[in-house]
Amino acid sequence: MEDAIAALKLLFTFKVMAFMLAGMVAGIMAGALPGLTATMSIALLVPFTYIIDPPVAGLMVLLGVYVGAMHGGAISAILIRTPGTPAAAATCFDGYPLAQQGKASLALNISAIASTTGGVFSTIVLWTVAAPIAAVALKFGPFEMFCLAVFGLSIISSVAEGSTVKGFIMGALGMLFAAAGRSTVFDIERINFGIKDLPESGLRYIPLMIGVFAITEALTQIELKTVVKKGAAKFKNMMPGLSQLKQISPALAISSVIGTVVGSIPGAGGDIAGFVAYDQTKKVSKEREKFGKGSIEGITAAEGANNAVTGGAMIPMLTLGIPGDSVTAILLGAMIILGLRPGPTLFSETDPDMRALVAAIFVGLLTANILIFPVRMAGAPLFSRVIAISRHFLWPLVVVFCIVGSYSMTNSMMGVYIMLVFGVFGYIMKKFGFPPGPLILGVILGPIAESNLHRALRISKGNIAELISPLAVILIILSVVSVALPFIQEAKKRKKEPVKVEQG
């Protein structure tokens, strides 16, 4: 309770709230713009939040962007049938048909209500379960922590869009890039390609992420001939009536629960949550036939679930230090840079200032999820226009942000060069079908895996048999299942498909 009061004192100052609001607005705009994802927006802003004083304000900017971007994805999904973020994919099904019927404003308002409900629900769940999970995780020794990192890496098989093999290659490359340069574990320079002044791993990976996500996307988007679709014509502000609110309440409950649960499973993101909730809501709906034709329950299901993912995804990230997807991987990195140590020890901090900062994450996330509602309502006309921003203004400006951010992170041009190299690397790998998400998981989890295995082996004097515990066995089994499952599913899918006869 004392921590919560201290957190409230930290948060409710003009400066911190102004930064959070700015983050939300930036997040909504970024989310609304197809091509700018939550992951990319957060990667772009991390270097600036590192400098903001007090640090809690920087943290709130990132949480504001995260929550805002998840909301913003619905705007373009509804107005131009293009999800601003992958998580809003299911929103297109009913959002766009409703906009076509001249009810774009109703669709946007319903999505705002659903998103807010989902976000608030999942934050309350996070608040409730985080400390007990962390208390269990505190019993983990270095070998269990290594197994946990391996389990975190095993989810690459789920986050790798397309080829699982390519996903694992990217994950391993990420671990390799994190291991390059000066090793803090061994106090030795290794695989640095002759570059002596590589910044330390923590500072290096922000320019790396900016390169892989933002520069890669800028180059990809410029290469494409995109036609800017025009949004729905001018619309009247239409708020849902009481009967409509009553109609969507089962969908709100279903989507909030599904989103939180799916979000807490590493590897399952907002897009999966949106589709699962959409499907389940359709099954229990009295107006099933309206789904896909402008059902307000359909929009509620998709949006409630993809926003409930925000709190759910933070459960493994904050309690175990294992990011469930690329967004939480970047958030985790940002928290480390801001002086926090996400993981079991986060909840047993003895320093009152740190305890207040940890509590501020929960209070801040809840506040952001509540405040976003009036922000979206008030800014609806502005946010609806964002989707029409010309690419010849947007992408050059994104590059300027990338360069300023990468420079400021390392206070040298080295950060900019790293960003450029990884921008090109990400672009080439994307062309060959390699997903960027696993790279970031590798960068974050690789050092955790290596340092904990090293510690465990030192304690046992190199005797691996001594390290095996029931918990480690469970984690190893979970990792094996997590890796094997997509291969089994893929094999099953191939069996079901008719065999194509190849010629020549």
Binding site: P47, F48, I51, I52, G162, V165, K166, F168, I169, A172, L173, M175, L176, A179, A180, S183, F186, I188, R190, I191, L219, T220, I222, E223, L224, K225, S390, R391, H392, F393, W395, P396, L397, V399, V400, I403, V404, Y407, S408, N411, M413, V416, Y417, L420, V424, K431, F432, G433, F434, E450, L453, H454, L457, R458, S460, K461, G462, N463, K500, E502
Partner: protein, 169 residues
């Protein structure tokens, strides 16, 4: 060869993993304490990447890609290459001439490059965008948030004579 793209990138990755493996040979291999050696982790990763790349190559030889592959080069590939070159020049110029001038040059060149039509009205909006966004980024980040930016002679003049009057640090 059913999937030449995977065969090509797989081969490149095999060569890369061999290079990394070779680099780890120069690192201490043993550990007196029973823990890992500095070479253990990167070497294991090099082997892992190499092994997966072999799978990629073999699969690429015998198996067609799932679904249709997108074209390697987008319709505006040349524009993207030109944009990338402008970006590289921008990065190289920045330490020499500072943030403001290099950003003005970069934004002008890239907006002109990507802009589909260059009507007088569009050009006027473009110029306004370039000037306002360059100065706004400089003010918000360099002055208001005190983010370190590369300073050139123009930046210094602006900081002292213009933004200084607006209450900057």
């Amino acid at each position: 060869m059913k999937n030449p793209r995977d065969v090509f990138i797989g081969t490149v990755l095999i060569a890369f993993s061999a290079l990394i493996y070779q680099m780890t040979l120069g690192l201490p291999a043993g550990s007196a304490s029973g823990g890992l050696a500095p070479s253990s982790f990167p070497r294991a990763l090099a082997i892992f990447i190499g092994a997966l790349s072999v799978i990629l190559v073999v699969a690429g030889i015998f198996r067609k890609p799932d679904g249709e592959q997108e074209k390697m080069l987008g319709p505006l590939f040349r524009q993207m290459v030109a944009f990338f070159c402008i970006m590289v020049v921008y990065i190289l110029l920045m330490p020499q001439i500072g943030y403001i001038v290099s950003t003005l040059v970069f934004l002008t060149a890239s907006v002109l490059l990507i802009m589909p039509q260059r009507k007088p009205r569009d050009l006027a909006i473009g110029i306004l965008f370039v000037v306002v966004s360059s100065l706004a980024v400089y003010y918000i980040f360099g002055i208001f948030l005190n983010v370190p930016l590369i300073e050139g002679p123009v930046d210094e003049v602006l900081r002292q004579n213009v933004f200084g009057l607006l209450g900057g640090k």
